[in-house]
Symmetry: C2
Subunit: 111 residues, 2 copies
Amino acid sequence: MFDPVCPSDLSPIRVGDKWAGMIIRCLEQGPRRFSELRAPLRGITAKVLTQSLRGLERNGLVVRTVHAGPPRRVEYGLTPLGRSLLEPMAALCAWTEEHWDELLDARETAI
Amino acid sequence: MFDPVCPSDLSPIRVGDKWAGMIIRCLEQGPRRFSELRAPLRGITAKVLTQSLRGLERNGLVVRTVHAGPPRRVEYGLTPLGRSLLEPMAALCAWTEEHWDELLDARETAI
DNA sequence: ACGGGTGGTTACCGGCGGGATACCGGCCGG
DNA sequence: CCGGCCGGTATCCCGCCGGTAACCACCCGT
C-alpha cells in the first residue's frame, strides 16, 4: 500500500522543516529580504533561516534573487509552485483554527 | 507575527510524526487492528507503530478500543476529529500529485 | 506440550534537526 | 578610523525520532 519510496518523503507537504510553513506565509504578500524574514520569525537564528531557505529553494518553492548593488540586496520570493501551495496550506490553517478547542481538550484530558 | 506559542507547535498539521499521515489514511475505511495496520505500513516496527498510535490518541485523532475477549481484539479507529482531518489532507495529496513533475524537476536541477 | 499469532514493552543506539555562539567580508555613515 | 547593519558561514552541542533486538503474557490449535 505504501511502498518504501513513499510520496511523503519527497513531498514538501510536511512542509519541510520546522519553519518552512511560516516562511512561506511570510512571503505571501511578496518578496522579502533576509532580515525582513528574521524579524517576524521570532527566535530563528541566521543559520537555521539560511538552512530552511536553502531547503525551500531546493524544492523549488522559493527563489533567491540578488539585486546587485551597491547596496546589495538579497530577496526571497515564492515561485509559482510555492504560491500554489498557499491554497492547501490555507485549508490546513482553517482546519486548525476550527478545531482548536478540541485539540486543546484532547491534549489536556490525555496527560 | 508568529509568537513563541505558535499554532504549528500544537497543530497536528505536520501531521505528527513520520507515519501518522499514513496511519490516518489507513483508517479511512474504518477501524483496524494493530496487525492490520502493521501489514500495509511496510517496514514499521511494533514499537514505532505503538508510539505513533499513542501520539495520535493524545491528539484526539484516534481511539483505541479493546473488545474484551477471548479472543481479545484491539482496534484503532478515527475519531470525528481525526475524520475531519481527511479533507484538508486530501487537498494536500491532490496538490502533491498535481505538482509531482515540478517537484522532481526542482530536486534534480538543484543538486 | 509446543509452536504460532496477537499486542505489546524495554533497553539500547545512531543520525540529524535545530539552537547557541562566534566569526566573517562588504558597505555604509559619522 | 570606528562602529553598525546586511547576509551570511563555521563549529559545537544536545535532544529527540526512529530503528534494532530482545523479551513478554495471553490465547489458540494440534
